[in-house]
Symmetry: C3
Subunit: 648 residues, 3 copies
């Protein structure tokens, strides 16, 4: 506790993996140790994020109720071990996890220092057991009502997989349609199994949510996300959470834009509400290929980055290094040496001091974003399961295609949201929807409405092939978006790395790479902004603009280099009158948050060396108290941060 | 139907995966939909290749009779999914698949537009279940009669694996002798398991064959092969088929010689009878690393290539793109757009028109090949299972070694057959048997007889190590071929890539690579044509010629570059008086087919650009009607074809 | 037999895989064939190393008692196949294997030509079946007595894995804590499972040991090791063996220092007693990526290398090539050709002649080593299971880190032992303990005592993190060795290949690479010999020397290039007054063995070409009879050997 105070740490997540301790047997609960911890924290005026402890079931439960353990992708029953080891459709698991959450809530409901509930921990991956098989059949029945509809949406006529009874439906693993976790003979069925598994885990979350809300209706509930974690549709989950929190573990050599994109996603999932950086390492990880230490200043820089994108707090994993098991080599605020005389501790304490000095000034700020990128978990699943257009993971990566567009906004210092296709788009002027292979029902109408009322909408190659059942659109791609874009994509070519094409945009030649949509025809009023430069489709459109109502829709038929996206997005941003917060400087990231009266410009220098800021950097730096006018040259040291407050 | 006619398509394969539709439950059959299709086709004067629909069992059958599903290589029981999902030794599968084939034949036997039966589809891979284990024991008992013989041929004394009861014999998978599908502690046992599994699947085919023949004795029966598909000994299968058909899916960047080799194999399996190109994609595939579109002209070029090598037809998969499941992204004659206004459709229609104009002129032609390459499926299996001489897939590839020799014929425009060691060799002047690691019983005598009566016979390194039980020959390699070659191979060296040797042939130095047979001695009358240039075996023979009766036998003790094989085969071809159809031009393929009076020279330009033909290209081009004399220069555009008809 | 005599082979290992032959059914034993072999060998005055035949159980036993077969890492039950196929905790296996060993011993006890027992063969790998699960629980109970202690040492509080009943404990495979054989969520549990599995197999060995000793108390017993074979703690096993023997199968391109290190390990495991080279190939292997032939002279050179490091014999696998199964392509004294007219046979016969001429002169010599390297199997296991500091196999290889230090001794021609942390260190002047991630109980005290009484002790980066339960030491690394080294390692940085640091040692700059311990502080009397040259820890110690009692302890905080280790070990060797046997010559290996009066200098030229020896090479060459004075130049041809005898 002394160390925590010294470090300026005022909030602690506790009770994350204590199920076995709290419930030593089926009928026995034991809160002695947790009682002591809760009392100690209260006594020390610490805020508590209280976990429900259900992310790993006790060994006795696995022994007594083998049904609680999972069956793996190969079809092999697990025994006991690891975490996220419970079948989400096990009645035993559901009963005892919700009961435990309720018991904890009931016991500690009067602690007013509980600032949030942390349900389970890093919800994770699937199960293929008989519980799940039964539950999947129910889920299918509920969703599709009749077997005719099941057979239609899954196109079971292909290869004669027609189901005549719901009980013939099976889990989707290596014993059935899937050669590997990302390959399926029937992507439509496997896609539904992913949805089902995601729903199953979300139901487990909700059972615990309700159990704690019953006793503490006013304490907000969350669970910690893990960036682009594919198995769980976080955008759906966020709707059942009071606030979003996530764990940020970038690789030591990460491209800074990655984590920024994830922060933006976290903020956008609750329509701009602040989120919480629940976990980050103070210094080192233990599961990377090369676990480099965070260089001096980096932990502070990355902490402010979270705030810059919308976090209302900065937490660490772990407080004290565990002595044994897999995370004993993961960094901690208090190392095995047990001392505050470490570089890490000093840096944390300095940050703690700064944040204390800032007080609550940055809490609750919001981000004014007029541009958005659409990211759709279900599209991710389905595109991954699609056989084609390539097996190269670079070509098949939906997140990487999203990053191509995100980077352009990031490098231009433009605030951008990362939204779901189900979100309201009316507040944006510019929306980019990269690689929307699958179009959800109603999305085309939404996009049309957005453009009709003045929006600028952009899509990229391989868009609009299938509906939400993974059934191809008939009548030509991009399916129901054909009218909006005014184009018909006849074929898509895919060439190996190095085998590129080219196009000219505003006088400069750019590389076209990887995949190449080839248009069969386009509307008369579709403007061809650029054409392929070579191959048998030389002269075919590569970038088109289609006026539609008050707005316009752009189709970009291939992939290119960062230079192109930066240039093109720059033009669209100007067209839409969206603000670039500061002129771009390499390695310097800029975001802006605001309240009703003021705005706060966050300037983050990811470079090792100092940079000189010129225009745009004006206001009073909250960290130094100095005021800069924006007309003199201001120096920002390597890895340093500036938070400029100024009137709106 | 309108589209088919427009495209010149006159033959359709139907009913390929309809088992679940045709038999909705154990006692019920429903032909309503197929009746309609058959009537429609008849009405439209379409030929039908009618499939038996047994390549994927219905879901209800897997539910009711779990024994029908396979156990995989790891030993895990499958549930339901995929295709080729039935255990070939399941009594249930055998009963219902044959019954279905019979019912279909009985129902449609009077349709005179059924031009062929298509049994199952792309027969595929193995099973390791208890049905198979029981059947394997029976198979072994039938083959070897006594346990003493079993223990002898499997050399079970090694590692004390002696069997005292047939019931102690087990399937060959990861639960028994096999660390991986291509590694076995007892290759002899695993080899027999491969033979058994191949036989099991062939029996399934035969049951259906008999079932349809009962009703339609005059309709020829086939199933579609897949080039060098290792698990099935197509040469054996072909004997039970009325004609051979196959599915050709080259990678976009394939070496053209590959597909040509496969076409030659297909033709040779029925002693030169025409085969059928059952499937090819009209434009794009969906399961390659990079699914490039077939460039304009390529589909036509590759279609004529099939004809050039012996196909009597050109078919496509798929007619109309399926909306869902794994092949929705695979090319089709009719795309999702549902229009004939596509590049693909236009090219097909043009080809259809050309073929219609050709009429039946090219049907039934034969290829006069005086050279043959021996390819032996069982040798492939056994060499792959052999521990040694290398683990490098390049070194261990039997097909690649065969290609080294095939390419020399291909590049010299020499017709060549790809035959089995069981085939009659008497019509050939030159036979090359690359890498015959395993020699079948009686083959050495056959080879000796071939050479004695004037043939030229060639083998390459690592030949003649084991007999057909994978038992090493005692007395020196190449075992029973020692007399024929007049050499004794004492040791075989294997060196990593880049660590090469050399030899001189006719004044030029060539590289020796990968594996190096070192001869301990050779007969007095064995002529040493070339010697190793370096290492401790410098001066040892690398190429020998042994006169034997009226002919000669050549042993090539290592591997080399294409230049050597081209030169060496050129010399042998001249020695044997075999015709080179036209002087070689890079990227231009030439074959010749003939009937009693005429011959047809197919000239295929695989280059993107045009080539100029000089000598050898004379006759009347069936595609343009023009006559060329062979003395003027003739231009053949890139990807174009010429079929020169002339008197023999 | 004629061939053996011709080859000078006087000792044969027999009966290695004959269980199925010796025991055709549960109640029947049949020694007919073995009787004949034993009589034949006796008659021919051959020595026998008699094997117990238990490394592969009979097929009938697997059929009758399925419990005898193993369950694999995935959790799948095996059927029958391979070798090392018995569950070491199967009561059936233990009963019948010990019984067989006893029966053989009883039957042949009067054969005075049995020179040793060879128990089983190449003991190997694990099992995860229910027998093992039960036995593991017993093992845990016996070791830790109480569940409280179990929960403490395994730190089960982490992720709530607390056990409330011994029956809740499970095997450690992919069904429980292990994602792969080298990754575990609870390394402490998995480490104990490895110890348990090692113990289980050792118990099987001991049961057979006792069974044969009952009848032949004076015949020494061994089993054949396989170099650094990770699953078995050979140092522990050696204590239960009368002498050590091993099988040496270097890759064709091996670094000669490797095999020499293994030979030194074999000698050191029995405190310098001679060992036996039980197996080596006469010419070729069959399971390497590229099975190159041993070049002429290499088999002889490598045979003498074994003797140079402490072997009292040179044996071969296999005598006659088996006709079938996986080793038919492995080299043999007598090849399939069945002749003595092979290069291989000639070389063996020549070596046999030489060894016969040497008589017993070299038998029983010992090695005087004053330097030792500590190698600890349990540390290997635990470091491998550790999540961190890197996933790169190069970074994570404990043997490779040991080799960095060994090579320095090897290249300086210094005799060195490879010892266990449990061995007595008092006879050494210099001990290097590379990468002792785990410190056994009491080891720190032993190391302190060693240094206090004058020894020089060296450790390297990532030392002293955990105790023998894989629990991290609190209070700072290197844990209980902190006092000895006088340093505190605060953090460890790990950077990708190519991202290096540097340091200066004695005026020369060396590269620091891979991992970088960063010291937080050091004692006043700790001498900083070198510092990091760059990065944020530039100036921090990289090499320290701490005087302690009469000796000194060196800590080397990173990894470097061979040049540094050679230089540094050279300095330590001089500091300790340890003899370099001869000045270093590239590719020439020198060792020295001795008896009470004489010493024998072995000089081995691994180069292809000749070398000229100058100083140090004096004495009488036992192989040529020539005497050299050490002052003239002596030429040693490529791949040749010299054994110089001289007075001590």
């Amino acid at each position: 506790m002394r160390f925590f105070k010294e470090a300026g740490i005022d909030t602690l997540s506790v009770n994350i993996f204590s199920w076995a301790a709290l419930q030593p047997s089926e009928d026995e609960y034991n809160f002695t140790k947790l009682d002591k911890i809760m009392a100690l924290l209260k006594e020390n005026h610490m805020n508590v994020i209280l976990a429900t402890s259900t992310a790993a079931h006790p060994a006795w439960m696995a022994k007594k109720y083998p049904e609680i353990t999972r069956v793996n992708f190969l079809g092999i029953k697990r025994k006991f071990g690891g975490r996220h080891n419970s079948c989400p459709n096990s009645p035993v698991y559901r009963k005892y996890s919700a009961r435990l959450a309720g018991k904890i809530a009931e016991r500690y409901k009067d602690y007013d220092n509980i600032v949030a509930w942390h349900v389970s921990n890093e919800f994770n991956t699937g199960c293929y057991c008989e519980n799940c098989e039964r539950a999947f059949r129910e889920w299918v029945k509920k969703k599709y009502k009749t077997l005719d509809e099941v057979n239609r949406v899954w196109n079971t006529a292909f290869w004669g997989h027609t189901f005549y009874d719901f009980d013939e439906i099976v889990v989707q693993n290596n014993q059935t349609e899937c050669n590997s976790p990302t390959e399926s003979e029937f992507p439509g069925i496997t896609l539904d199994y992913r949805r089902f598994m995601d729903d199953s885990m979300l139901e487990c979350y909700k059972l615990e949510y309700e159990a704690v809300k019953k006793f503490t209706p006013d304490v907000p509930v969350t669970t910690n996300f893990m960036a682009f974690f594919e198995p769980l549709n976080y955008q759906k989950w966020a709707r059942s959470m009071d606030f979003v929190s996530w764990d940020s573990y970038p690789t030591p050599d990460e491209d800074p834009a990655n984590t920024s994109m994830w922060h933006d996603l976290m903020r956008s999932m609750k329509q701009g509400d602040p989120f919480l950086l629940m976990e980050q390492t103070p210094n080192v990880q233990n599961w990377q290929p090369y676990n480099a230490i965070k260089r001096p200043g980096v932990m502070r820089l990355w902490s402010y980055r979270a705030v810059a994108h919308g976090s209302d707090g900065v937490c660490f994993f772990q407080m004290r290094r565990t002595r044994g098991a897999s995370e004993k080599t993961h960094g901690a605020v208090i190392e095995h040496a047990g001392t505050d005389k470490t570089r890490t501790f000093r840096e944390i304490a300095e940050l703690g001091g700064e944040l204390k000095a800032l007080g609550g000034e940055l809490l609750g700020l919001r981000t004014d974003a007029r541009a958005a990128i659409i990211f759709d978990w279900e599209n991710w699943w389905d595109f991954e399961l699609c056989s084609g257009p390539s097996r190269d993971p670079e070509y098949k990566s939906y997140p990487k295609e999203v990053m191509r567009w995100y980077r352009a906004f990031y490098e231009r210092n433009v605030n951008v949201d990362i939204v779901s296709p189900e979100d309201d788009l009316s507040s944006y002027k510019l929306v980019v929807a990269p690689l929307l292979f699958m179009l959800r029902d109603g999305f085309a109408e939404k996009a049309e409405e957005f453009v009709r009322t003045g929006g600028v909408f952009v899509c990229s190659a391989y868009t609009g092939l299938v509906d939400e059942h993974d059934l191809a659109f008939l009548g030509g791609y991009p399916g129901p978006l054909k009218d909006l874009f005014g184009v018909w994509v006849e074929e898509t070519d895919v060439l190996p790395p190095g085998d590129t094409n080219s196009f000219v945009y505003k006088g400069l030649t750019y590389e076209a790479s990887q995949i190449y949509d080839i248009m069969g025809s386009h509307e008369e009023d579709t403007e061809v902004l650029s054409e392929y430069g070579s191959d048998f489709y030389a002269g075919k459109p590569v970038l088109t603009k289609h006026p539609f109502g008050e707005g316009a829709a752009y189709y970009f038929a291939t992939r290119s280099t960062p230079e192109f996206y930066r240039e093109f997005i720059g033009d669209l941003v100007h067209e839409c009158g969206i603000r670039e917060l500061m002129p771009a400087i390499g390695g310097v990231e800029v975001t802006c948050r605001e309240n009703e009266t003021d705005e706060y410009l966050f300037i983050l220098n990811h470079n090792a060396g100092e940079v000189v800021l010129t225009e745009g950097a004006y206001g009073t730096d909250l960290l130094t108290g100095k005021t800069v006018s924006g007309s003199e040259n201001v120096t920002l040291p390597g890895k340093d941060v500036m938070i400029l407050k100024r009137k709106k």
